[in-house]
Symmetry: C2
Subunit: 440 residues, 2 copies
Amino acid sequence: MQSSLRLGLAGLGTVGASVVRLLAKHGDDLAVRCGRRISLRAVSARDRTRDRGIDLANVNWFQDPVKLAANPDIDVFVELIGGASGPAEESVRTALEHGKHVVTANKALLARHGVELARLAEKKGVSLNFEAAVAGGIPIIKTLREALAGNEITRLAGILNGTCNYILTRMERERISFDECLKDAQRLGYAEADPTFDVGGFDTAHKLALLTSLAFGSEIDVDQIFIEGITSIGLPDIEAADELGYRIKLLAIAEKNEGGIEQRVHPTLVPKTSAIGRVDGVLNAVAVDADFVGKLMLVGPGAGGDATASSVVGDIADIARGTALNTMGRPAEQMKPYRKSDVESHAGGFYVRLSVYDRPGAFAAIANRMAERGISLESIVQRAGRPMADQPNTGSPAMTRQVIMVTYQTTEAAIREALARIEQDGHVSDPAQFIRIEAM
Amino acid sequence: MQSSLRLGLAGLGTVGASVVRLLAKHGDDLAVRCGRRISLRAVSARDRTRDRGIDLANVNWFQDPVKLAANPDIDVFVELIGGASGPAEESVRTALEHGKHVVTANKALLARHGVELARLAEKKGVSLNFEAAVAGGIPIIKTLREALAGNEITRLAGILNGTCNYILTRMERERISFDECLKDAQRLGYAEADPTFDVGGFDTAHKLALLTSLAFGSEIDVDQIFIEGITSIGLPDIEAADELGYRIKLLAIAEKNEGGIEQRVHPTLVPKTSAIGRVDGVLNAVAVDADFVGKLMLVGPGAGGDATASSVVGDIADIARGTALNTMGRPAEQMKPYRKSDVESHAGGFYVRLSVYDRPGAFAAIANRMAERGISLESIVQRAGRPMADQPNTGSPAMTRQVIMVTYQTTEAAIREALARIEQDGHVSDPAQFIRIEAM
């Protein structure tokens, strides 16, 4: 048997503690599988006194993760600190510069510095693995980077944030308002005290940026992602979508089209009967369309210490077995610059909800504005005089009616123009709500 | 760039032709991803004259796949001939003995000779990869062998035969008889002229045998699999399951319990709302339960030339990149002998359908027989006097009623005993139908 693979682990939060427990529980089996032992040599965390329920008696303790990363007694640096800069970035960079493999769960770091770090890893001839950074326990990185190597990927769509999916699922099932669901999610530990990063779609965007790069061989470019969170989704939308046969999901979508690559994160109406429409609660899912394999979908836990630890250790096991891959599945120098496709050119169906003043001619005026832009309507639902649960308070709710329209395929530009005109015409009391529809 | 990886491909059926097309289409991208070109040097197939729509002008032709396997000009032998013995076995063995890597889609070969071939591959220091042998384009082998290396798997359940799933889906959706669905499947090319291998559950069993070995580190043992096909499933069962909130799927299940490992292939009632219950048509799916990752499910195309070629080329790309893994995820010598758990000890709920003579006391007698064995009934549906679509012709159908019972958790032994007694009592016109229920 080869000499053992020596780990230094920085960050002993939920995931870090699970990794330590996993290595203790399955150490013998991992040694059989990998042909060598995986041995935790050193850790770094802020609070040394906290009881994490794990045995660290034989492990060296470093106050400073950067010192740990440079330590000559480790072969692999496992970064579970988090954050796009600061100690996480500094320690990962240090580890790579010292010729150590790196395993990280840090999506923010890679979304910001992935290409550069990949280049550094290649230069040093080491691995930079990050299965745990996207979709928790789901092996989507390995699937894109290795299993689908023979495919041209045309599109991927994912539910990548469990917090948002939990909130949307509860809103739909129990008809509870967004705010109430969010509070429950916070109480259950699914959402942070400041939930902006999750519900604003930014966490999803970081993950999408990595998947896009892997899928299309382009450089990571998180700043070019169109991002819309779920905070504007109200019960009227949930209810209307349900009636129309849809569910609302926060989807991350990347697709190739003539103009380049489109990356978007936004609430999306998906058919209830579609596979991704049925992914409920805190689960994550990624659906891939590719020229040879066709459609593939992976569903599993997107977060949680144990599930994420499974991915971290999968990455470590690859290193122990000697598997060497370029970080993004191809040499960093071969990655093409990201060419953004104009999201306004996105074509598809749209869901539109308007609060229309209840007066003669209003509806005709709206229909005309849609027709002017060549937008055909697949269905129209007008809800007469029934103010809905969390309808925005417009002062005199009885005076408006909710008009819900589903369009046939059109462009986002056409919809935006038509809605701008409708708002200018003064027939609606509030800005229009519009949500993209994906056939899936 | 390293020298190119030279392939010899035996078998130019649907999958073989797709592999050739894939390599032609994505050769440049594969070279970037793998750091070396993958170059098809030679092929072997029975009929040299057939037009397969692929360009083989620069490729050597071998009449005999065994000679191709021994050819010094190839590094990887790709076996797409099929069959557990004969030329497939001989050529794979020859390739390994000559120190060549092997990529195969041949589930029957590996189910029969996998352990021995794995041992040979290890001895020669080469790879024996078989992603395409199970679930077509779904990367379940990679997931079990690599991604989940840090997990103890407790259970896996899969829909591994598209033909069966197509038939069951159509029976349910259109209420068409088994025979008619099978004929359509044959017409559409989903089923062979002799469908026994598919509908009898044997194809599924071969695939399960490989997954079990990967999941539990046990030696492959296809002969110990409990196999029940779908030929006994009638429309009355499909209809009753539907009413009770279930779908019938041919599942392959492997799970660890105290007695050993249980491997079974049989029709199963799964909740309509479960993820696996929603896998329709020719799709395949594999659900894995493991201690750290929790529940993971992969869904995708289980057959078809292109989807299978995706897996074949994924395996080739791994070899091109230098990834070296033991065939079954651990050294063959470390695989434990398969210890079978007694399937009769299987505990769970059961669906029972009886054709009961319509006479006083019959139902009470049946209920007593169930009670004697401690079997509690969750629900009972008695269908009065309505002979159903494809109910077996019992001579005087008006004299029997269909009684459908769903039991609470009990053992398979208890159910079998109770049903034997009920049949002895003479209250039923036909052997009882019973189908296992899985909560999923």
